[in-house]
């Protein structure tokens, strides 16, 4: 079994503590039963002033930063409801489609996570609480939201095409004789090889596989209510 990230990289944990102490002094880093948590009061800052505060707990799984930190608002202010982007079963906040964050170059910085998706989420909560819409829009719930997000990254809005791209990207090596994932039936070398190569620069095979698994999981759930499969796996 692989040791948790903070045991493999104690220096990273130490740096994280120092970084938080400087930028978010009310947030504490705690290791409990081998898992790293960040707890305390998160200030939503604007123009050097605190607009509002939310009590939070962020959990960094053992494979962090390969997985997205899990945020919970623990002050009981945000209802557990899909429309507030909180999972009703466990209170976890759904800040962003995970792979959208994992492909960011600074996804391994907890500070970037707090200043980015976490702050955006709470700015949204303040606005939604007062009857306004989500400031930057919101993804559709479930599978359609995944297709929207992956589609934006891959440059296609067709579910089958993006699935083929993800399958292609999830492989460790590229072969020119493969069929192009765009659906043209041409060989990859004669079609979108450059696009796939560019995508591989930002989407690692591991991340593409993670996206495929997520699609499959939600597709499976949706299939229960539908006679036709949402995606066909490439053989």
């Amino acid at each position: 079994m692989i040791a948790p990230w903070h045991e493999r990289n104690p220096v990273v944990l130490k740096a994280m503590k120092a970084e938080l102490a400087t930028h978010y002094p009310d947030l504490r880093v705690i290791v409990e039963r081998g898992i790293v948590h960040i707890r305390g009061s998160f200030p939503v800052i604007d123009d050097a002033e605190v607009l509002d505060r939310f009590l939070i707990e962020v959990t960094l799984a053992t494979d962090y930063p390969d997985s997205v930190p899990v945020l919970k608002e623990v002050g009981g202010r945000v209802p557990w409801h899909e429309d507030r982007h909180v999972i009703p079963g466990n209170g976890e906040a759904c800040l962003i489609v995970p792979e959208e964050w994992i492909i960011q170059p600074n996804h391994d910085s907890i500070l970037a996570f707090l200043i980015g998706p976490v702050r955006n989420f709470f700015l949204g909560q303040i606005l939604v609480e007062s009857g306004n819409p989500w400031p930057f829009g919101e993804r559709s719930h479930g599978l359609p939201g995944l297709i929207e997000a992956y589609g934006e990254i891959l440059g296609t809005s067709d579910g089958h095409t993006l699935r083929r791209y993800l399958d292609c990207l999830s492989r460790e090596a590229l072969k020119g004789h493969w069929e192009c994932p765009c659906g043209s039936t041409k060989r990859l070398r004669d079609c979108h090889l450059n696009k796939v190569k560019s995508l591989r620069m930002i989407i690692l095979p591991r991340v593409a596989q993670q996206a495929v698994n997520r699609l499959d999981k939600l597709s499976e759930r949706q299939k229960k209510n539908s006679a036709h499969p949402i995606f066909r796996r490439i053989e």
Partner: protein, 299 residues
């Protein structure tokens, strides 16, 4: 502004007016809870109110209302045993709320789609008076080694109200809340009152530093006694569990004051703004360099 003026400004920013949304909501739920209890158990239960408002320790970032629902010592109107009373009151509250079971209290949260699990900051504490004096009371201890505990709401309120260190309690409660420290508020208040017993005439900053210094200097948890039941309610375990993080944060806070000053602990005191928080949040979104859309896996 000197340090003590600054600390008073922090406290002012934490006040809740009687017509504040938060207190109005508490009052609405208080009436609803009383209605639910009366509907199930009639006029027999004695309902009283405690919590931070009653004790004068309310702060905007952490406030609550305790509604005690005590049965007379000779009444079985809500059940024969303490456990039955606890469970029957819980079941009655489920008609209007999502009820989270705590050791002795029932925490009320939203149960409808639009407010599911939103915290209403209300604890209902069922129990039974020990005798006809209607003062001391037994409450059920869900999942604890000892299944009942003797307590006295009036003694607790009087102990805090009469401590003469309410301001220090409120500021330390703010500190505890912001740091996410998991020490029971009641036990923390007892600790503060004990530590400041001989510092009542001191300035607020001196009082706070004294509390942090005492916690920081003590390797073992400082012993506190429940004034309502000094020999019967052992708070050592509660204090022991919280002590390492309490001590660590007290030490860090003293360092912060030393190197960065008090504003690094409680933040800058914001000037009054004409725009609402939502309006300011709306403006802030215009300057977000990396916007993203939230998503929910369940469709």
């Amino acid at each position: 502004m000197d340090t003590n003026e600054y600390l008073q400004s922090v406290l002012s920013g934490q006040s809740l007016d009687d017509d504040s949304t938060e207190l109005k909501e508490l009052q609405t739920h208080r009436a609803e809870v009383e209605k639910l209890i009366r509907k199930s158990f009639g006029s027999v239960p004695i309902i009283r109110y405690g919590g931070s408002r009653a004790k004068g320790t309310i702060i905007k970032e952490s406030y609550d209302l305790d509604i005690v629902c005590y049965l007379p010592s000779d009444s079985n109107a809500a059940g024969e045993t303490l456990q039955e009373i606890y469970e029957n009151v819980r079941n009655c509250l489920r008609n209007g709320y999502y009820v989270e079971e705590k050791t002795s209290a029932l925490r009320l949260k939203g149960n409808s789609a639009d407010n599911y699990r939103r915290d209403f900051h209300i604890d209902v504490v069922p129990g039974r008076f020990t005798d006809g004096d209607k003062s001391d009371c037994f409450i059920y201890q869900n999942g604890a080694d000892k299944c009942r505990m003797k307590t006295n709401l009036d003694v607790h309120i009087a102990h805090v109200n009469g401590s003469s260190v309410i301001d220090a309690i409120r500021l330390l409660k703010l500190w505890k809340t912001r740091k996410g420290l998991r020490v029971k508020q009641f036990v923390f208040e007892l600790l503060i009152i004990d530590l400041l017993d001989r510092k009542k005439g001191e300035s607020l900053s001196t009082q706070l530093v004294h509390v942090w210094e005492e916690i920081s200097a003590s390797d073992n948890p400082i012993h506190v006694e429940d004034p309502a039941n000094p020999s019967g309610n052992n708070l050592t375990e509660t204090m022991k569990a919280a002590w390492p993080e309490l001590k660590s944060e007290a030490t860090n806070t003293l360092d912060t004051i030393k190197w960065s000053g008090w504003e690094a602990v409680f933040g800058a005191v914001a000037a009054a703004k004409s725009a609402t928080i939502a309006e300011r949040a709306q403006r802030a979104t215009a300057f977000v360099s990396a916007p993203n859309k939230p998503w929910c896996p369940k469709g």
